[in-house]
Symmetry: C2
Subunit: 154 residues, 2 copies
Amino acid sequence: MADASMSSMEWEGSMTQTVAFQLSKLGQLSTALFAARLAPLGLRPRHCAVLELLRGGPLAQLELARAIGVTASVVVDMLDELQSLNAVRRVRDTEDRRRQLIELTPTGRDLGRQAFAAATETDAELLSGLDPAQLTALRSVLGAMAAERGLTGR
Amino acid sequence: MADASMSSMEWEGSMTQTVAFQLSKLGQLSTALFAARLAPLGLRPRHCAVLELLRGGPLAQLELARAIGVTASVVVDMLDELQSLNAVRRVRDTEDRRRQLIELTPTGRDLGRQAFAAATETDAELLSGLDPAQLTALRSVLGAMAAERGLTGR
DNA sequence: CCATATGATTCGGTATCCGAATGATATGAC
DNA sequence: GTCATATCATTCGGATACCGAATCATATGG
């Protein structure tokens, strides 16, 4: 019942054992591993949320920004990059000529599929040391935390 | 037994549901929340691993770099910052005058304690929506993943 | 028709990391 | 001892990812 780890002394707690710290570090690791697998496609992790969101149909840039949780200027950069890969097109909204409707090209749709494969491979790499029970628990908890905060993007 | 989520069609999977993706995003969130709580102390997340490692006694800069998992030049930057806070001292190693032994000052020790408090608060914020079972599972899995890769630092 | 709001863009700034080049010191071959 | 080589810290330039303020075009409502 008693946890044996803190035996007797009032010892300063370990920061590296906090969830905040480990989540930061593992997030950084995940990003790096994912980026490495995306690199051959010319993609970077931040592009993936865009590719995924656009599967459902065209969106304006501000809609993308809000969905992903970044500012409008970041979206401009990402779309410039995706456009240079021919993954997306900007189309003026005829009903409101200020808006650009962003639509996925067939190339973009294909890149999305390959990116998903890369994500799956990264998962395998990241989770190789876990037993099935841990894996289930992790997925469930991360899903809960992400959903709770509406983290679609990045 | 059969997973109901992929019913009939060959539908492109969801990248935002992969562990790699969610871990990236949640790691980013953790870092931001932790940074916000550290800001009043003049610290940033990356300083914390240094403060913690030095609790055990002085270390050379390359030893810090290896323990934390960053390059030597990053350590130089972090130590410049910590030094300007009077949190650490650089002391030439008399046995090898190329080395700088980094030692924690009383101020640094105190900042470490306050940083730990900030990390604990961040955990509370981050984990508020989880039930005890999920919390236990998360800690166990993150601990396993972090330990497996020797992630001390940030 | 004009004031104001909104969408996209540009520009400059911040934070974090890396790798290559540099200078000081140590070490080992001879 | 001396010289080549290795190692430690540092500096410098570059990459990535983000933000916020300013700008321009277009809409909208009085």
